[in-house]
Amino acid sequence: MSAPDAGPAASFRFAVNVTPKEGILDPQGRAVEQSLPHLGVAGVAHVRVGRRVEMTVEAPDEAAARAIVDRLAGELLANPLIEQYAVEVLGGASSATRAGT
């Protein structure tokens, strides 16, 4: 089957890191902080628990792929009222998922 005439598409791999905005109460982060004394760990503060979403995007070039990811991040992956996000470019679509060690 032939692709539509949209030019050759390439694959790009991204990660979107979503975290609670500054000032938003993060009870999960606080729970992690409160567990630290049980590990005998001191000096760790401002723990914020977020979410990381990885994806492969097909697009003519990286800028076009990035635009799609930005739209997804702003409209779906993060709620701008309470969350912020950062987009990270990962090293190529071929990067294999690493199994847990």
Binding site: P27, Q28, N79, L81, I82
Partner: protein
């Protein structure tokens, strides 16, 4: 003829039958609205019931926000149609931007399932007009993400414009504190349990009026909320509105 009120059914809704039952007790003819269709079938009001729409994946309510039925609900709301979101339905409305604010993870991190007391801030809305007086209403909450949040400026504006619909109250009838007050089950800012949009035709609340719709359930305090919605919807239907919503595209 009984007023037809739609109850949206998402995959993962689990209060749709209770809501249907409660609406029938309130005098309505409930109509189930499947999430895959944007057509509301000419109902006079819509209720988004509780549950875990689309598994609450990513964030509670966010996947449901993009479902076809929500296009219909948004168009219906834009013409003044009455929409009430209960629990997960409130989360869906907030994610859709149809009511202000967001629902965060409960401050205590735990899923909270118990009875609370809420007081209506206003008695002149389509959702509270038959409550009669500003008295504590007892009904259950059952949620993990119910901590109402909006920034301070938004909260001030909501108070000023009368968009705070319900607040959690303690045994003395006074509003609960923000945190560490058992009367506030989730740490909601300013003890807000329910809000309305600016136009006053879309509302959401975390507690479940349909689970307190008859004495057999332990409380009938939720019934006046459902009856208010049905009465207001009946008036609007009788007055010829809300307008029939037509959406772009084929039926």
């Amino acid at each position: 003829m009984a007023v037809r009120v739609g109850v949206v059914v998402f995959p993962g809704s689990n209060c749709d039958q209770d809501t249907t039952w409660g609406l029938r007790l309130a005098g309505a003819e409930p109509v189930e609205l499947w999430h895959e269709s944007p057509h509301l079938g000419g109902v006079a009001a819509v209720v988004l019931p509780g549950g875990f729409a689309y598994g609450d994946y990513l964030r509670a309510g966010v996947i449901a926000r993009f479902s076809p039925v929500m296009r219909g609900v948004a168009a219906f709301a834009a013409t003044g149609g009455l929409v009430l979101g209960i629990c997960n339905g409130f989360q869906v409305l907030a994610e859709a931007g149809l009511v202000p604010g967001a629902l965060l993870r409960n401050r205590g991190l735990r899923f909270v399932c118990r009875e609370v007391a809420i007081v209506p801030e206003r008695l002149d809305t389509p959702f509270t007009r038959l409550v009669g007086e500003r008295r504590p209403l007892r009904m259950p909450v059952a949620h993990g993400e119910g901590c109402y949040y909006a920034d301070a400026g938004t909260l001030d504006a909501l108070e000023r414009d009368g968009q705070v619909l319900f607040r959690y109250v303690g045994p003395d009838g006074w509003p609960a504190g923000d945190a560490d007050d058992p009367a506030n089950p989730n740490g909601s800012l300013r003890a807000i349990a329910g809000v309305m949009n600016a136009a006053g035709n879309v509302a959401g609340l975390m507690p479940h009026p349909e689970r307190a719709a008859e004495a057999l359930l332990g409380s009938a305090d939720g019934l006046p909320i459902l009856r208010s919605l049905v009465a207001a919807a009946g008036e609007r239907a009788g007055a010829g509105g809300p307008a029939v919503v037509t959406l772009g595209g084929a039926a």
